[in-house]
């Protein structure tokens, strides 16, 4: 078992020279989707997950901000509006560290294909839009394993904003970036905030090797492309159900 694991160890995890905690190679793989709200990324990841689930692959799906450990603190911070750009960022990092150490890393070491709806790039784009230093953020998340594929779903700002605003009764305070004082009108604040995030994402396309996906393409056509790229870049056979 251990020899097998070494043979198929992902090359991406060897980039741990500057890691705050010791990293070792793992047999699993990590596929991530990123993009602003309304870019269609969650829909596409869901369809990818269904395709793999139906095929019986060993996989696990994980979402940003879903750890029960720090949920009460996040809720309290948001409700009472205690959060600053720094504490907002640190609390999400603590939350992510919990998911990373107790879920993502063990699964990667256990040979799972891990699908993540949003990853550290969400923090880089969003927290920098709130005023955190990009250099500080990079260090903060340097414990996270590098994804094998990062799909970046990009939709024009107007398309994305219209999708979100039409689908929700009311934008939440932090979601709309109201803590930044960009505008007193929530939808307007949301728009300016999302524009900043979009610009920050765009700057990471090259540095972080994003696979750019056009969020305006028809859902089924885009999904076909996504499945094709996953098939090319990841040795899916290693996650396939074992035949007896």
């Amino acid at each position: 078992m251990s020899t097998r694991a070494a043979d198929i160890a992902s090359p991406s995890d060897s980039s741990g020279e500057d890691s705050p905690i010791a990293k070792r190679p793992y047999p699993g793989a990590l596929v991530v989707v990123e993009g602003i709200d309304g870019s269609g990324k969650s829909t596409q990841l869901y369809l990818l997950k269904r395709w793999l689930e139906i095929g019986g692959y060993r996989l696990h799906f994980t979402e940003w901000n879903s750890s029960p450990l720090v949920k009460s603190a996040t809720r309290r911070g948001k409700q009472r509006r205690l959060l600053t750009s720094t504490t907002f960022s640190l609390l999400h990092a603590a939350d992510f560290a919990d998911r990373c150490e107790r879920q993502i890393m063990p699964l990667l070491h256990g040979g799972y294909l891990v699908l993540a709806d949003r990853y550290i790039y969400t923090a880089f784009a969003r927290d920098a839009a709130r005023g955190c230093s990009p250099h500080w953020l990079r260090n903060l998340y340097s414990f996270a394993p590098t994804p094998d594929i990062t799909f970046y779903f990009r939709a024009p700002l107007d398309v994305a904003v219209t999708r979100i605003v039409a689908g929700r009764p009311k934008l939440k305070f932090y979601e709309a970036g109201m803590d930044l004082g960009l505008s007193l009108v929530r939808t307007e604040s949301f728009r300016i905030f999302q524009e900043r995030i979009l610009n920050n994402y765009d700057q990471m396309i090259e540095t972080d090797h994003f696979v750019l996906m056009d969020g305006t393409v028809q859902v089924n056509r885009l999904q076909k492309l996504m499945r094709q790229i996953v098939g090319e870049r990841i040795n899916l056979a290693q996650f396939a159900p074992k035949k007896k």
Partner: protein
């Protein structure tokens, strides 16, 4: 042995000059400034007392508060796990003990910055004297002995405000053990580093853990120019040393002080 395992990681990433305080840098921060702070407005003083449990920190802070108030200075205190944002959550995590070292380190940093931004900075803007019962150094030391790289930790805390004075009440682990045992008749899970599986003998575990922390403090003391005081000296002697340095910093002429009746029991 554990020490060696941790050092390469810390050294390997020693592009650490990036975060090291630059000579002649008058900045109030260690590196990148905390977003949204105008340091010109900070007219108060930040004084930090560091030291392990049993080093006498809280006793000294109680006495210093009384002395400073008698001299006409308004005092604000801070300590670990006291933030409105996550103080209680950390208590719960510690009790539960399912938390991993990295998450705990980041929860402590959230707690620290919540207090810094919403309590210390407003106090400093109003010209108060802030007495901090521990600061980033304890948080760095605790995480570093658990194998998290020092450069990573310094990177997180580079946006913290530099104290005007940092005192380290240095005591030997054996003395800290005696004092802690006398106070609470037991040794706490975390203060003896039991999460690190150092020894099943709790006395040994405590001594080894506190020795590792002390080693980190020796490094931090050099790096950040602490004023090191002999925490094993009498309360009145340590207090005298503290008053002398603080008086010089704040321009207080007389360092004369004798505790009031309410605090007399601390004076031994």
């Amino acid at each position: 042995m554990k020490k060696n395992a941790k050092n390469p990681a810390a050294k390997g990433a020693s592009n650490g000059d990036l975060h090291a305080p630059r000579p002649g840098d008058s900045s109030r921060f260690y590196g990148t400034p905390l977003p949204g702070v105008n340091t010109e407005e900070l007219s108060g003083n930040l004084i930090v007392i560091e030291g392990t449990d049993g080093s006498g920190r809280s006793t000294q802070i109680a006495l210093l508060t009384e002395w400073l108030e008698s001299e006409g200075f308004a005092v604000q205190t801070m300590g670990l796990r006291r933030s409105a944002l996550v103080g209680e959550d950390i208590d719960a995590l510690l009790a539960e003990n399912a938390v991993t070292r990295l998450t705990l380190a980041l929860m402590y940093s959230t707690d620290f910055f919540d207090q810094l931004e919403r309590r210390i900075l407003p106090a400093l803007r109003s010209g108060l004297i802030v007495l901090a019962d521990r600061y980033i150094f304890t948080l760095i030391a605790r995480a570093a002995v658990r194998g998290i790289s020092r450069d990573y930790l310094h990177g997180i805390y580079e946006i913290a405000l530099k104290p005007d004075l940092t005192f380290w009440l240095n005591v030997r682990p054996e003395v800290a053990f005696d004092r802690e045992f006398k106070k609470s008749h037991t040794i706490s899970y975390w203060e003896s580093g039991r999460d690190m599986s150092l020894s099943n003998d709790l006395f040994q575990s405590f001594i080894r853990y506190q020795s590792m922390i002390k080693h980190e403090f020796e490094y931090l003391s050099r790096r950040h120019a602490f004023t090191e005081l002999d925490g094993e000296a009498s309360v009145s002697e340590v207090n005298k040393q503290l008053r002398k340095q603080i008086a010089a910093e704040l321009g207080i002429r007389s360092t004369h002080y004798h505790p009031s009746h309410a605090l007399a029991h601390l004076w031994r």
